[in-house]
């Protein structure tokens, strides 16, 4: 038996309908902890930040523009799995919802028995996609760092008349002495030497 501490915390966003009550019950029966039920509104992001859930479940007839924008912002700044249960089956809304980064989009009434697998798929997919985005972010960073280092080295070689090897060693020494990353040192060198021209 898993303890209360291990239960995933769900923030349920709903309009207080009978169906939402069923969904809330289904989530709790399936081993999720519904830490709060809130109504959709302008301060949704602040509410999410306050409650710090592990995931967000939205039960709505149809998500409005505000909600889709909130989800898009959440996805950019504080990504977490979002599962959206939606009544109507509307192509435009569906497209916008996927673009806003929701991990699960379920159209039309849902049998409570299916809730658990829907949640599990959404969480697994969220992690997979997030890992991919993290890798992209890190690889871009590495490329950027390489470019900075190269530029700093070239500037040192030009302004201080040193060899590439000496420039490289100077940057590494600075990084150790100042306890800064190589990229930071490179940035400093670039800003000083470029202004000094």
């Amino acid at each position: 038996m898993i303890g209360d501490m291990d239960l995933l915390k769900v923030l349920l966003v709903d309009s207080d309908s009978a169906r939402s009550a069923l969904l809330s019950q289904a989530l709790q029966d399936q081993g999720y902890k519904v830490i709060a039920r809130v109504k959709p509104g302008a301060n949704l992001l602040a509410t999410i930040a306050k409650h710090r859930p592990d995931l967000v479940v939205i039960d709505t007839e149809s998500p409005d523009r505000d909600m889709l924008e909130s989800m898009s912002l959440l996805n950019q700044h504080n990504p977490m799995p979002v599962v959206m249960f939606v009544d109507e089956d509307n192509d435009v809304v569906l497209r916008e919802a996927i673009r806003s980064g929701v991990s699960g989009y379920v159209a039309r009434n849902t049998d409570p028995k299916r809730v658990r697998s829907i949640m599990q798929v959404a969480i697994a997919r969220f992690r997979e996609y997030q890992a991919l985005k993290d890798e992209l972010y890190q690889t871009k960073n590495e490329l950027e760092k390489g470019k900075l280092l190269q530029k700093a080295k070239s500037l040192l070689m030009k302004h201080k008349k040193v060899s590439e090897d000496e420039a490289h060693q100077a940057i590494q020494k600075l990084s150790m002495d100042q306890n800064k990353s190589v990229a930071e040192v490179a940035e400093n060198i670039i800003s000083v030497l470029e202004i000094g021209i």
Partner: protein, 194 residues
């Protein structure tokens, strides 16, 4: 958005496939080709170009997911998997194998259309990130090989960094090759003589 899609339907029970075939057709599919779970999916996909793969398998096996991991590596396709298996390990494996949508007990025809649309959109979104990642990785390894070649020229030919780079660029222009190709050749040659 989902009209006229060519679909490959892979099922464990071909006798029960007509329902799903007609469901897919009324949800916007064009041609629906069917195959058994025992067929070689990779081979079928290399002969037939489809827009979407649908799996209808009560109990998906590791073996099946391994096949689809290979499909994802060589000819990525959106994959929808209908199953009865709620096991969380199976769900995790399916996502890892590149299954775009894993759906338990949700095969009713009126649900198919949004399921297909979500799967197509999500697949495209994921492919876009993967493509960008591959491009950035390419650039990173291009830089690495150019840096390496430059370093070898500086060390073995007593060139300055600037001279080394200009020489590589000149070679690339004269021979009509990419500078990364020249860098590879320089690395090979110097490694051979050094």
């Amino acid at each position: 958005m989902t009209s006229g899609l060519d679909v490959l339907l892979v099922c464990d029970d071909l006798e029960n496939s007509p329902d799903l075939v007609s469901g897919l057709k009324s949800s916007g599919a064009g041609n629906v080709f069917t195959a058994s779970i025992d067929d070689n999916v990779l081979k079928i996909l290399s002969n037939k170009i489809v827009d979407l793969v649908v799996l209808d398998v009560a109990k998906p096996t590791m073996n099946l997911f391994e096949q689809f991991a290979v499909v994802q590596a060589y000819c990525p396709k959106p994959v929808i998997c209908f199953s009865d298996d709620r096991d969380s390990n199976v769900i995790a494996q399916s996502v890892k194998a590149g299954v775009t949508a894993y759906i338990v007990d949700g095969k009713s025809p009126d649900r198919l259309k949004p399921i297909i649309e979500v799967a197509m959109l999500r697949f495209n979104q994921c492919q876009a990130v993967k493509k960008e990642l591959a491009q950035v990785k390419d650039k990173l390894s291009e830089r690495a090989i150019i840096e390496k070649a430059k370093g070898l020229l500086i060390e073995h030919k007593n060139m300055s960094e600037d001279q080394a780079y200009k020489m590589m660029r000149k070679l690339a222009m004269d021979q009509g090759k990419k500078i990364t190709v020249i860098a590879h050749e320089i690395c090979d040659v110097i490694a051979a003589i050094a």
